[in-house]
Amino acid sequence: MSLLHLAIISPLILAIFIPSLHKRAPKIHTGWFLLPLPVLLFGYFLSFLPGVINGEAAMETLSWIPSLGIDFSARVDGLGLLFALLITGIGALVVLYSIYYLSKEKEKLNQFYVYLLLFIGAMLGVVLSDNLIVLYAFWELTSFSSFLLIGYWNYRERSRYGAQKSMLITVFGGFSMLGGIVLLYLMTGTFSVSETIAMAGEIVGHDLFIAVLLCILLGAFTKSAQFPFHIWLPDAMEAPTPVSAYLHSATMVKAGIYLVARLTPVFAYEGLWIWLVAGFGIITLFWGSFSAVKHTDLKGILAYSTVSQLGLIMSLLGLGAAALHYPEFENGFYTVAITAAVFHLLNHATFKGSLFMMVGIVDHETGTRDIRNLGGLMTIMPITFTIAVIGSFSMAGLPPFNGFLSKEMFFTGMLRAQEIGFFNMDTLGILFPIIAWVASVFTFLYSMIIVFKTFTGKFQPEKLKVQKPHEAPIGMLISPIILVSLVVIIGFFPNIVSPLIEAVMASILPTLLAAGMEFDVHIYHWHGFESPELWMTIGVVIAGILLYKFMPRWTGIYTRMPERFSLNSAYDHGLAGIQTGANRFTNAYMTDSIRTYLIYIFAFFVLILGATLITKNAFALDLANVAEIHAFEVVLVVIIAVGSVSILFAKSRMTTIILLGAVGYAISLFYAIFRAPDLALTQLVIETISVALFLLAFYRLPKKWHHERMKFKVSNAIISVGVGLIVTLIALSAHSSKAFESISQYYVENTYTKAAGENMVNVILVDFRSFDTLFEIAVLGIAALGVFTFIKLRMSRGKEQG
């Protein structure tokens, strides 16, 4: 095990010790034990930075299941490192924030931090695994730990609902992804990501290629809350705010982005990939920003804003993948979309994390997150207000913050969509910049709502749960301050992150680089007046301000669409429908009546055997081998046939028993005729005892015997005639097609010489095949014991109930 592996699983190891630390040192907030780990890990991953920037990828392999080609190989390249730094860096900040956010007395801190550590470890595993199966295992662990964290306050009904919803949707996608991984293995013969990427050119035309692409995209879209799978994310806001900040804005929801980016070199040669990723991304971007405006809960707005921003990144990744179709490297003309995606990924993690923490502070200090109750907090919470302004303005894409830069590059990427000369991009591509612009207007709008409806306007202390709201403690403010500082620093000096972005791009677009070449990323604030992006941004601001001013006049459109047609109600009704449907289906065939089940069994027997007889053309009738018929045999046959059929029409119990006895005695006569003396003897005796038993039970059995014939039922008659017919047909066919001679000649020859007996049947029973006899004796013994127990042992439940 290398240090890298240890780093990945160290959170999982620490998770084992958290409960005992919590118990041993109840006076210290458990979070403090946790804090050093992400800080250390952050430092450790920083040490990879110089190597990664020089284009080296660190790779460590740990054998796990070598016979199946599954090994725990960890690979640190640009993309993995960016995510690892985000996870550990924001992880450290979130832990610090949660120490002040979660109360030591009221909350079950040991559980919280165990779940959080599980999540950190799982997420590191996802982004650093080079083996798809290991990646999938960690992927599911993120779903699972996210489930636990969303349902952390499990006494709340909404928390449980949100946790279940996110679990169902992400695990659905996860399974689909597993299917894609297995199919991919069938195509390539390897689970290794880097080897799969190296084979990308060979698998494009494969039959399974489209299926793999769809399966894997389904996994990525559900995890990254893309339309229409975004519905779990707003409900996941029931989690504690540090969790929302960490999982549902900065890290887990980007796992899908990571997967798409990671597998872009494999799939981007297919036009469907570009259309699906870019198309779903842009729809999500628009729908998320449009829906965010109608919410009044701050976390609800931020959830939809996360959905929207994830859509933005996704659409950029989709369009940027087109760059792979141009082997010659044209000054980064098409790769700008990838640059924008990576840059915005980083920016979004910073400003969205700080915004969630800001909302958490507001919630913590005022007791509400509803913007209708908030207002006028600017003078009361000046630091929080500053954080909110910087975060929101960056999210809206205003200069001089980093969101402005990535928004400009986003427009550049979208404007170039039309110039991609294939997959219908030249005609339909015009939609991308238009939708992107409209979505940006709404983004601007909800960013302004967050700031101004919370912090300006009239202070309404009577609506707040907390009597005298005040500024948060310094410990709570440290993390968001660090994050907004990053927003500002990256905003002013964007090129300090460009070496990292270049390294990430090298992992997303590996085939574009000839040996020794590097991507050259320079991010500028100022594009000049002639650049369309600037005018688009100005248009966004103007349109956004107008919409904000006249909000009461047009927000009526949100109530136009009835709740019935929303995706959430589709999900709820779908889930309820599956349950009632399954319930109805089960109740329909599970009738609790033994007759129904017997009908199923017999009907299946008739159908399957009949169908086999017909399809295999198996019926045969061969008269060559039959014995001749004697008159007394015919008489016996008639007696038995009439006897067994007339049981059906017997009125009284006595007739029934006597008829059964008659059939049995007639059969023993058959045995005598067909030269089976032992059988005849046994049958005679046993039939006598059976009839005696039936008669013994005669008076004991129900006094109210139905003194009537069985009611005729057509279904029963059809089934029983079918059974009889099938048995006859199979008996005839079997008899007519004998494959080989009997082995009985051996018994005839050796019964006396080897076993010293003259009665062949008895010698077979006790000598040649005596095991049968042994266990038949056992059966009789058990039956006798059973009878004895039934009669003697009476721990009557009836008495207890009575």
Binding site: R595, A676, L679, R700, M710, S720, A731, S744, M760, T773
Partner: protein, 113 residues
Amino acid sequence: MEILMAILVGIIFMSATYLMLSKSLLRIIVGTGLLSHGVHLLLLTMGGLKTGAAPLLGQQAEAYSDPLPQALILTAIVISFGVTALFLVLAYRTYQELGTDNMELMRGKEGNE
């Protein structure tokens, strides 16, 4: 003769199935008894009904009827007897406990065990 026997076995199976589909527990037991008769006859028939001597070496015959199916049937008779006896006692106890032999009334209640 085998064809006649096959038809007879079919008739026995038909009656047995119809009895087993009835409501009364006693009729179901009679049905299973009849079913085992049918199976035994089928076994004998499938072994071949060519007339030979009984499988006793003392007969000094040219040919004997097949001893193996007879041994199998003998085992089967004893086992089905044991099962029928157990069934009967079970039916008797069931009636004592539940006061009915109507299978349609012996249903598990919803949410009861």
